[in-house]
């Protein structure tokens, strides 16, 4: 933390209204390829957090992350407001301030687009005194459960604390009192001895002239006022009245609508388009041929979609047409076998001594697990509105990666990045899908063919069939057990590796471990799917350890606990899950309990599933979830994320499966790609452990744990071990 703290830069300035604006850079001088051409030299910095104190003493916090449901706007603002001692009731959160005064400075577009030409008022104040600033952007990608852990801990809190110190310093100078006699409370500076009290804004002008502290003292836990509480989320009032604007809801004068059909087989080029039948229907129509898709533009989405159905499109044929799901798994099996035969693996983790694997020990136990491709199925189908005019391209979209869009659209249109403006909207679900740029590129391509703003909307079918999928995979384990029945050797081999790198490493005390992977080439595009590699490794590891426990006739909870003696945080989480689920209480016949524990993104989660089986139907009655994220910054939003991750993972475990036929995705829409619904949803009880260790993520860590807890519970109820997901393909009566 100290390292990044020292790299924080803070700039201040005054708006015409007298409002104080503070910009904080937490990762200056990023040299990644994507932002390199936006940062000219080492003296130029990336600013991505903003605070504004207005004449009415309201505090506006500009949050550099996309709100896709995880409550990140509220939680990040809360962390900043707590350190600043701002009055939460008078805190306004914005991803894009629309105040009149900003428009004169091009700041409005900059804030939204994340590409800010630093306004003159700030350059005058800041330049020379503190920073030389050229171009300022926000490159923040929302994902990896990183918002709270990094932006929050390293950015928001420092910004808030530094601002509070600036205001106290200014007040001390003005009142001619020692700083240490002053305190900040609810957006006022107080001098307790004299009873003097003035609003933050009173000191805005003076504060703007002071040099901000880049390494301020942060509050200790006992000083938290807001952190760890559950104030109502500030984005929800608009979400119950239908007023919240998603990418889908943008309306522009003269806007037309586009419907698109991409090659069912991934990546095949369009070879011919016959749109002659469209001439017979009245109304405005335009056909746009993209590299591997065809779009129709019309006055409304329905008209565009109907018209597109009448266009005869031919796509090129290639070998992918021969790919079927069975073949995909055969290929994965073959590649894994080849890697084993040639000992051609990449090592994820190795410890201890691994004997020659060709010699099979009689105490060796083996199991292979299989998971399918998974789609994201965000509630809001993919869409993007683009308008190209006067040499610029404006984009309206809900994105986890607005800068990626800016960069790639600029490349596509062969214009400078500064001429692409991205206006980020609320996301109707992200889960990793909205970190891709494909839809924005299509929209820009289509918009280039017309002078109208174009809203491109995907059908749900397009959304299911042209996702970026969690990979199908195989994972094989071999374990040798010692005389106490505990694994002394743990060998795990699987395919593919994305991130995080530690996803495949079990938390258990096993002296000899070899964890390795090989690669394979699939024609199905890969993408980040909620919890990424953890989404499968949680299932693999926690199923296998459960099997080892049962092999030894040991209680799966006790078995895990005995292997976690060296991991007190894990043990505490595991014990609490057992306690809250009444683990040791016996269940009626046909009922079962299953347990699993897994750490991801810095958060340890244990879950216990309680279910009953009626004939061949699984009724999940209850899920107990215990999570240690170090500290839950917004308690209720954290609980909501645990619930969300569990239900997302339940859909995947029970039903989630994308299969390939003739090179294309077989599923179409929610009728053949089933989602968990309310009547199948269990009671979920979440318990938080605030261990005050390093802060972990919230959006993903409950997902990897649910599939193994569920199959372990099914085993407990039926004695049947499910090693292949989804569960719906398993015949419980067999």
């Amino acid at each position: 933390m100290r390292k990044l703290t020292r790299r924080a830069f803070i700039g201040t300035g005054l708006l015409a209204s007298g409002a104080l604006v503070i910009g904080v850079s937490i990762q200056p001088g990023n040299r990644s390829e994507k932002v390199a051409d936006l940062i000219a030299d080492a003296d130029e910095y990336v600013f991505n957090i903003w605070i504004k104190i207005s004449p009415d003493n309201t505090v506006t916090i500009i949050v550099p992350h996309a709100e896709m449901g995880q409550g990140v706007h509220t939680t990040l603002a809360l962390m900043l407001a707590d350190e600043m001692d701002a009055d939460w009731d008078k805190v306004i959160i914005s991803e894009a301030p629309a105040q009149e005064e900003y428009t004169n400075h091009m700041l409005l577009k900059g804030f939204v687009a994340r590409d800010i030409d630093f306004p003159n008022f700030l350059i005058n104040t800041v330049d020379g005194a503190f920073l030389k600033i050229g171009k300022i952007i926000n490159f923040q990608v929302t994902g990896g459960s990183a918002s709270i852990r990094f932006t929050g801990q390293l950015g928001m809190r420092i910004s808030g604390a530094s601002t509070r110190q600036l205001l106290i310093k200014a007040a001390a100078a003005q009142w001619q009192l020692p700083e240490k006699e002053l305190s900040a409370q609810k957006s006022f500076i107080h001098h307790e001895k004299s009873g003097k009290k003035e609003a933050f804004f009173t000191f805005a002008q003076a504060a703007a002239l002071l040099e901000p502290e880049t390494n301020p003292t942060l509050k200790s836990v006992d000083q938290y006022q807001l952190m760890g509480t559950s104030p109502p989320r500030k984005d929800l009032p608009l979400k119950v009245t239908g007023e919240a604007l998603y990418g889908m809801d943008i309306q522009l004068p003269g806007m037309k609508y586009a419907s698109i059909k991409a090659s069912p087989v991934f990546g095949c080029k369009v070879t011919s388009v016959d749109a002659s039948s469209l001439k017979k229907i009245k109304g405005f129509y335009q056909v746009v041929t993209l590299e591997n898709a065809v779009a129709v533009i019309a006055d409304g989405f329905w008209l565009a979609k109907q018209a597109l159905n009448k266009v005869v499109i031919k796509f090129e044929k290639n070998d992918a047409q021969n790919i079927h799901q069975k073949g995909v798994f055969e290929q994965l099996r073959y590649d894994l076998n080849q890697a084993e035969l040639n000992n051609d693996f990449n090592i994820d983790f190795k410890t201890g001594v691994i004997p020659d694997q060709k010699i099979k020990s009689k105490d060796q136990f083996e199991a292979t697990y299989r998971v399918p491709f998974l789609a994201h199925a965000t509630m809001e189908p993919m869409n993007c509105t683009a308008w190209i005019h006067d040499g610029i391209c404006e984009i309206w979209i809900g994105s986890q990666n607005p800068l990626g869009i800016k960069s790639e659209v600029a490349d596509l249109l062969d214009i400078e990045m500064k001429n692409v403006q991205v206006y980020n909207q609320y996301l109707g679900g992200g889960f990793g899908r909205r970190s891709e740029t494909d839809v924005a590129l299509q929209a820009a391509w289509i918009a280039r063919e017309t002078t109208h703003p174009i809203k491109l909307i995907w059908t749900r079918e397009e959304d299911i069939q042209h996702d970026f999928y969690r990979e199908a995979n195989l994972s094989q384990f071999k374990a040798v057990l010692n005389s106490q029945g505990k694994p002394s050797i743990w060998i795990n081999q699987f395919l593919f590796k994305h991130h995080p790198p530690e996803a495949s490493i079990p938390p258990y005390l096993i002296p000899n471990q070899l964890i390795q992977h090989t690669e394979s080439t699939l024609h199905v595009p890969w993408g980040n799917w909620r919890s990424v590699d953890h989404s499968m490794h949680g299932f693999f590891i926690e199923s296998f350890i459960d099997e080892l426990a049962h092999l030894q006739n040991e209680d799966p909870f006790e078995y895990r606990a005995s292997l976690l003696a060296h991991q007190p945080r894990f043990l505490k989480v595991l014990n609490k899950a057992a306690e809250k689920s009444s683990w040791h209480q016996s269940l009626p016949e046909n009922w079962g309990r299953g347990i699993a524990i897994h750490q991801s993104f810095g958060t340890i989660v244990a879950e216990v599933v309680e279910l009953r089986i009626i004939e061949d139907k699984i009724h999940i009655e209850r899920v107990v979830c215990v999570a240690d994220a170090g500290f839950a910054m917004h308690r209720d939003a954290f609980i909501a994320q645990m619930e969300s991750g569990i239900i997302y993972g339940l859909t995947a475990a029970l039903y989630g499966e994308i299969t390939i036929k003739n090179g294309a995705v077989e599923q179409h829409n929610f009728h053949d790609h089933k989602m968990l619904r309310m009547d199948e949803t269990p009671i979920i009880e979440t318990y938080i452990i605030n261990s005050h260790e390093k802060i972990g993520g919230a959006g993903e860590p409950s997902t990897p744990v649910i599939a193994p807890a569920l199959v372990n519970a099914i085993f407990n109820a039926t004695g049947k071990r499910i090693r292949t997901l989804p569960i719906q393909n398993f015949d419980l009566l067999s």
Binding site: Y246, Q251, M379, L427
Partner: protein
Amino acid sequence: MIISIKINGIHHELDSDPSTPLLWVIREQIGLTGTKFGCGIAQCGACTVHLNGIPIRSCTTPLGSVIDQEITTIEGITPPASDVLHHVQQAWLEVQVPQCGYCQSGQIMAAVALLNKNKNPNDDQINTAMKGNICRCGTYPRIKTGIKKAIQLMQANINSPKDA
């Protein structure tokens, strides 16, 4: 052809193909974007509106089938110029139901229709009324709690202002 429809108590004359799904008319022609597109085949409930008080899927309801009938969208569940939220909306905020929020208009419309018909539904009745609405963020447990909270608010007739 010119078609006359009534949405949230207001008459509109539209030049539109009667086969156009009501959803797109509401969103694109009337400009009320609270009603959402989710699947287009009546499988997810994001597009739920009321037709004469009954919840319907506007994505598969042809415009021509609803001429001059009472259509209510999320924007119209409280009387025009009303300064209070509907009990269901109020309960949704108390329970902090929404996450991404995209499906919530449809969820709220389904819940309002349920409570209009049955003032005190049990869990099974709630499940039956709500299982047509998908939420990918997994807010189902909170929706259920929200409906129960709304019942309490209705019984006590507690109203909270829209800008609270």
